[in-house]
């Protein structure tokens, strides 16, 4: 190469070329936040099958620890299937199996010798419709710890009070702990179910449409509760309500079905980014309501 050949100058200059506007970006790209967070759950080339039907295909997602991650997407895109895979709830579906890996704190939860019960203790779940057991409020919350072998009533009392406090329900039920859990309002029942999940001291809480059966006030209570819980827990929420995902989550994953009707991950990133400036056209169409 000819060393005399003109090269672009690399020296810094304060002279701006005349007539050429200089663009200075003030946009904040918070991808760094994703990179700096510890990863709680990670999937590696995950595929989930129901019999021969491939419900999820090639899912690679890293769920940051002590953050709220929302999974959004149209009906049938595999959001709930993905969520239920995280604590091996899909094992309960006949003829289901997975390919790839799901790692909890770096350890494959499908590896030989893994205790599924322990996985489900570490990863709790809250469902769409509040499903308290037909027993008292106290027994609902004490049920899990009791199942795991705690028999001391005083210890159980402490766990129940702490869990109900964390679920922002204590003040409303402290005087009627022996009443039936079924007698509470819908929003209270859902918070009771969250208290029940918290009682076994999980690390991750999976929420599948936790507020879709609730009125707006109860919904906001659940959303506030999620914010207070994320200081101690990793939360993953599946929601049809995009505004809810935008309100509550730190990160958002958008899923769609591919041409074989298998769910795939389209885009994953900081929520602020997904809802103001998504990179993928399909994400843009979905969050602006122009999907389909």
């Amino acid at each position: 190469m000819d060393s005399n050949q003109a090269k672009p100058s690399l020296e810094l200059t304060h002279e701006k070329p005349k007539g050429v506007p200089v663009l200075v970006s003030f946009s904040k790209h918070d991808q760094t936040e994703l990179q700096s967070a510890d990863i709680k759950i990670e999937t590696v080339n995950l595929a989930v099958f129901y019999g021969k039907f491939r419900a999820l295909s090639d899912i690679n997602i890293s769920i940051p620890e002590k953050r709220i991650t929302a999974i959004i997407g149209p009906s049938g895109c595999g959001k709930s299937t993905l969520l239920r895979s995280f604590n091996r709830m899909n094992d309960l579906v006949p003829r289901s199996h997975i390919e790839g890996e799901i790692r909890l704190d770096g350890e494959n939860i499908f590896a030989m010798g893994i205790d599924v019960v322990n996985v489900r203790r570490r990863i709790g779940m809250v469902f769409q419709r509040p499903n308290p057991f037909p027993m008292s409020i106290f027994e609902n919350v004490a049920y899990g710890p009791h199942l795991y072998g705690i028999r001391n009533h005083r210890v159980l009392q402490e766990i129940v009070e702490k869990s109900l406090h964390q679920a922002a329900l204590w003040d409303e039920v402290k005087d009627k702990l022996n009443n039936s859990g079924m007698a509470l309002s819908g929003g209270q029942q859902q918070r009771l179910c969250i208290a029940r999940a918290l009682a076994v001291e999980p690390e991750v809480i999976l929420m599948d449409e936790p507020a879709s059966a609730l009125d707006p006030v109860s919904t906001l209570k659940i959303e506030d509760l999620m914010q207070s819980l994320k200081t101690n827990y990793t939360i993953v929420i599946v929601t049809h309500n995009m505004q809810q995902a935008a309100r509550v989550s730190d990160f958002t994953a958008f899923m769609m079905i591919d041409s074989n009707r298998a769910g795939k991950m389209v885009e994953f990133g900081p929520t602020a980014h997904i809802f103001t400036n998504p990179k993928n056209k399909q994400t843009e169409d979905y969050v602006t309501g122009r999907f389909g």
């Binding site: 007539g19 506007p21 663009l23 970006s25 003030f26 103001t276 969050v287 602006t288 122009r290």
Partner: protein, 225 residues
């Protein structure tokens, strides 16, 4: 699946922004023309009609807020509506500049003072032309067109600088004309600022099209400061 209501409201807001822009362009052309002809009547019309620009600005702001509240826009739609709130203010302020020039025409009455009208007319023509194309770029979300306009601000800045020197020199030479010359410095200032605000509109267009919050620095920026 189109969002018929949201799309209709966005198109309506685009039309309203263009309408507000044309009102501002006309006000500036009329104000400088009134200065050229020292036409008190025409200046009074510009001065009083400024309230129409203000009303239109608030109507657009109100309609935008209602669309945001009722349609819950996201991503590109949200960026567009947020940008409208900014552009709306820029246009109203430009209207204030025209009103300010009209007010100066009224204050000058028939005072015997040399007005650098050739330069002022040129600045107004440049700024109004920039605004017209900047609003076209805004409603068509043409980022390339938006980026091509700010360099023209250099020409307005150059005219501002030369006219400033002429006016200050005349003030030194004729201290009795200081009051009136000072008013003309304000005319100079208003025209220069109008072009600056056009650059702000161009930045918003780039934001809508790319999602990037950009500041466009033109080459003469430091010279003006």
């Amino acid at each position: 699946m189109p969002r018929t209501t949201l799309d209709r409201e966005i198109h309506h807001l685009q039309d309203e922004v263009l309408l507000l822009g044309s009102m501002v362009e006309q006000a500036m052309v009329d104000a400088v023309d009134a200065l050229k002809r020292r036409d008190q009547e025409a200046a009074r019309r510009v001065y009083h009609n400024d309230h129409l620009i203000n009303e239109k600005r608030f109507a657009i702001e109100n309609a935008t807020l209602i669309t945001i509240a009722t349609q819950q826009p996201m991503a590109h739609d949200l960026r567009f509506l947020a940008a409208i709130l900014e552009v709306d203010i820029e246009l109203e302020r430009m209207g204030d500049y025209a009103k300010g020039i009209a007010r100066i025409v009224i204050s000058l009455k028939d005072a015997a003072i040399q007005v650098p009208i050739k330069e002022f007319s040129q600045m107004a023509e440049l700024a109004v032309g920039m605004l017209h194309r900047a609003l076209s770029a805004f409603v068509t979300e043409d980022s390339n067109l938006a980026q091509s306009i700010p360099p023209e601000d250099d020409q307005v800045d150059a005219l501002f600088n030369s006219t400033y020197r002429v006016l200050v020199t005349s003030m030194i030479a004729n201290p009795e004309l200081i009051d009136h010359s000072n008013l003309l410095l304000w005319v100079n200032h208003n025209l220069e600022r109008m072009a600056d605000r056009v650059v702000n509109i161009c930045e918003r267009t780039i934001f809508i099209a790319t999602g990037e919050l950009m500041e466009i620095e033109t080459s003469e920026e430091e010279d003006v400061l």
